[in-house]
Assembly symmetry: C2
Homo-oligomer: 339 residues x 2
Amino acid sequence: MTPGTEIQVHRYSAARVGPDDFRLVETEIPDPAPGQVLVRNTWTSVDPGLRLRLRAEAPAGYFVSFPLDRSMDGILTVGEVIASAADGFEVGDTVWHSLGWRSHAVVDAGAEAMNGVGNLRVLDVGRFPAQWYLGPLGAMGLTAYAGLSVAGALGGGERVWVSAAAGAVGTLATQIALKLGHEVVASAGSEEKVGWLSGLGATAFNHHHQPPAEALAQVAPDGIDVYFDNVGGDHLEAALEAMRMFGRIALCGSVSEYESAPSGPRNLFLATAKHLTLTGFRGSLHLDLLEEMQCRLGGWLLDGSLSYPETVYEGLAQAPQALADMLAGRTTGKTLVRL
Amino acid sequence: MTPGTEIQVHRYSAARVGPDDFRLVETEIPDPAPGQVLVRNTWTSVDPGLRLRLRAEAPAGYFVSFPLDRSMDGILTVGEVIASAADGFEVGDTVWHSLGWRSHAVVDAGAEAMNGVGNLRVLDVGRFPAQWYLGPLGAMGLTAYAGLSVAGALGGGERVWVSAAAGAVGTLATQIALKLGHEVVASAGSEEKVGWLSGLGATAFNHHHQPPAEALAQVAPDGIDVYFDNVGGDHLEAALEAMRMFGRIALCGSVSEYESAPSGPRNLFLATAKHLTLTGFRGSLHLDLLEEMQCRLGGWLLDGSLSYPETVYEGLAQAPQALADMLAGRTTGKTLVRL
């Protein structure tokens, strides 16, 4: 037995989630049984999609709800193996797995987690900092890369709009699209973020200063070909308005609607009028692209041509505050908790 | 000069369109100039999409608004050439073109109309009744066929839901999907229509008796793969709910929202959760499929295995009433006016 701590959901909040909706709980971690490893977690992930699981019913087809007063399973996490009873895993290995928001985890080496993205896996930390596997070399990179791929935008030469472009996925989608030869319009919610995005080479605007429809009419008066949607709501409506014929929309997330009643795009008929395709997707369903993505993004990270901002919170107790800050737009790039 | 008549839009109605929104006007038809033909129209088309053009501003990318107190251009029509000054067109030829809702039209043989679908074209009326070219062998057939094609449902073996399935496009989409080996759920707004659809082999329900979400949960408890949307609104929300993973939605029309403020599907996030693709399309953008479609549907019509109901109004003056009746769900199959 090892003493540990974990975060549990105390109640489901109907409005903005906050630290009071969680509890930090002391636990006792059993020794690993055959086929298991004991991991001391070192980094854990904070993602917008977690908000959708902080309800009695998560959207059908999505990851399941977090139960009340129990461990939160299905959150990507990095850690170090401190005891192993599974072939292929040694004490000292750095791994990723899906039992985050806790200090220690006993992980079943053969278990399938989160469509395979969350399966226990040894990481190459000789080349890359471990926490990058929670960002550009992990689910965030996969989501950005797959999103551009499913949107049919990997060929280059089109105009792509990325919303929440200073977020964990948005920073990557913006830069991947630029590298692949697209013209990128990037939106975010602060002047600081907009300045950073402009520095990358995107045409950036602040959606708190100007409604997206108005901003797009100015910066892209002849329209956009691809929209990478992280926001939903008025952003998605603005995109439908601005799309050129045969445009494509990658529906990655709709963070503007996670803490309120979603309204739906009132101008969806424009999809019929302009022959648009909207494709919902999750990075975890494109595990086949993981190696290709890691190879390309890893190279760009090592040569310094891909920027990867992080907002880091110290200590497991800060995870709920990190989530609340991220949902409110107060973090930049990947939001992480260091344990 | 030939004396003629035409329907003109008198005013744009904010609510339900009716005969008072139009005027029947006497006209003088000029003789055809070189490159033109004079056509006496015999059948003219009544389509839900016309409603979207009875506004000051039609949806961007769609066909333009009908101007007030002028000819209504861009409505598919069949007629007989009564004078020709254009190569390739002889007096007595039956043709289609896009200058409908009028008794006669002078048509420029070289003009591009309605993405090419409306170009002047000689019809093979030895094999088929002329008005079928306004239905299964024309834009309706193309829309149904292309819709199943863009939705990726032409392979067969899936469960397809077709809404407004007793309408001009719906009757064809339903039967094409059945012929291609799909299981078809079909919805319509009367017991008579539901009975007819059941007779074809579809699992049919009446959306006036039961909300679509509830009906789908009963008749397709394990979900649908493809939704052919002619209705929008609560039908589209029900489809998003019922879709299986990797499902596809063909956005053909949303007739429930043409005469009111559209609301948009509030559960669009399910597209992300379930990796759904929504593709808007118009038959007129798939002119490349016209010959293939005519060949297949023409064969099925001749061998009697494809049913094609029509609701026919007599005389040009009835066209506005026909449109109002069709939008209110009082017609079955293709709505036509015989001149």
